[in-house]
Symmetry: C2
Subunit: 204 residues, 2 copies
């Protein structure tokens, strides 16, 4: 009974610790998803290996791949392109393996349009729930600082609504455990399981 793999997208505001959580996840022996390596036009840094850390490409080639629709998502940061090659993602999903992307929020929006069935996880800063005690202990905190934090929080909550799940990055291990639980649970969703059973019956 073979199921197509899940596309797991981890994203969240910059500085929330997406990369750290992703590395921790992939250092655990029981993590069963495949990491999709990004493509970039920036130069390799000391020790970085092509095909391991990134697929390093020339600018002209990256732009040609964009035109050919070979990127699931891409963005430009400080003059360099970063993106996710779509073929690896599609081929891996077809083999039944789950694919894991760790990308910026702009990229996540692009992926949602192409893979509405993907599993979108928003990594939230712990400051969001710390906000509660700040608001409660108002007198002891700087008023303008609270207002700024609340404004940021409002934007983060807006972003959140594009995702299926929210995982607070209070501790890396907690965040990893929750992400793994979400993937296990998602494989048990009736909307994913029932069609497989139906297929078995119809195949007879």
């Amino acid at each position: 009974m073979k199921e197509k793999g899940l596309l797991i997208v981890l994203s969240g505001p910059s500085g929330v610790g997406k990369g750290t959580v992703r590395k921790a996840l992939f250092s655990q022996p029981d993590t069963k998803f495949e990491y999709s390596i990004s493509m970039t036009t920036r130069k390799p840094r000391e020790g970085e290996v092509d095909g391991v850390d990134y697929f390093f490409k020339e600018r002209a080639e990256f732009e040609r791949l964009i035109e050919q629709g070979k990127l699931l998502e891409y963005a430009e940061y400080v003059g360099n392109y970063y993106g996710t090659p779509v073929d690896y993602v599609r081929e891996t999903l077809e083999t039944g393996k789950d694919v894991f992307l760790e990308i910026e929020v702009q990229g996540a929006k692009q992926v949602r349009e192409k893979f509405p069935d993907g599993l979108f996880i928003f990594l939230a800063p712990p400051s969001l729930s710390e906000l509660e005690s700040r608001i409660t202990n108002r007198g002891t905190e700087d008023e303008q600082l609270i207002k700024n934090r609340m404004e940021t929080a409002r934007k983060e909550i807006e972003l959140m609504n594009l995702y299926d799940y929210v995982v607070e990055n209070d501790k890396i291990e907690n965040a990893c455990e929750k992400i793994k639980a979400i993937v296990v649970a998602e494989h048990c969703r009736t909307t994913r399981v029932a069609p497989i059973y139906k297929k078995i019956l119809e195949a007879e």
Copy 2:
């Protein structure tokens, strides 16, 4: 940041092993949900304790409780009533704790009507996925037996669609792990988390 508890409903076809899985879950130290004790009019068996195994009630009282709407779900089996007292469920959920019910499929339907936001888990017999190899190895199996199994499977798949998740009871430990992962994941769903954050901001 307090969230209302989740109502977790474990159900499935009779004989699938709901009781065994529930007992295994509650024997684990990291299981954090509260078990809702059923009410019954059957006589206590040797060693059964009122308020531990069941709440034992007289028939007249049970019927009065039904009339008063004090049962979340109930059914009659071999001349005895079995049901779930609603007050315990509501009060425990209010304190933020998750409540776990292990009930028959008829009862689960009744609960779905009253708690559409509940977490409904269908425990599926492993025979459902074994069916695939049976169909494939057709020649070696009794034709009528396969037909009967397929008919049962069809009904089980119909039932399944009323649930959010399907957990195959291939091994008790696997089923327990999956149920726990589903509960963790459900607490991370954006539809549950975002409103809590919003409330914090609005409360200021």
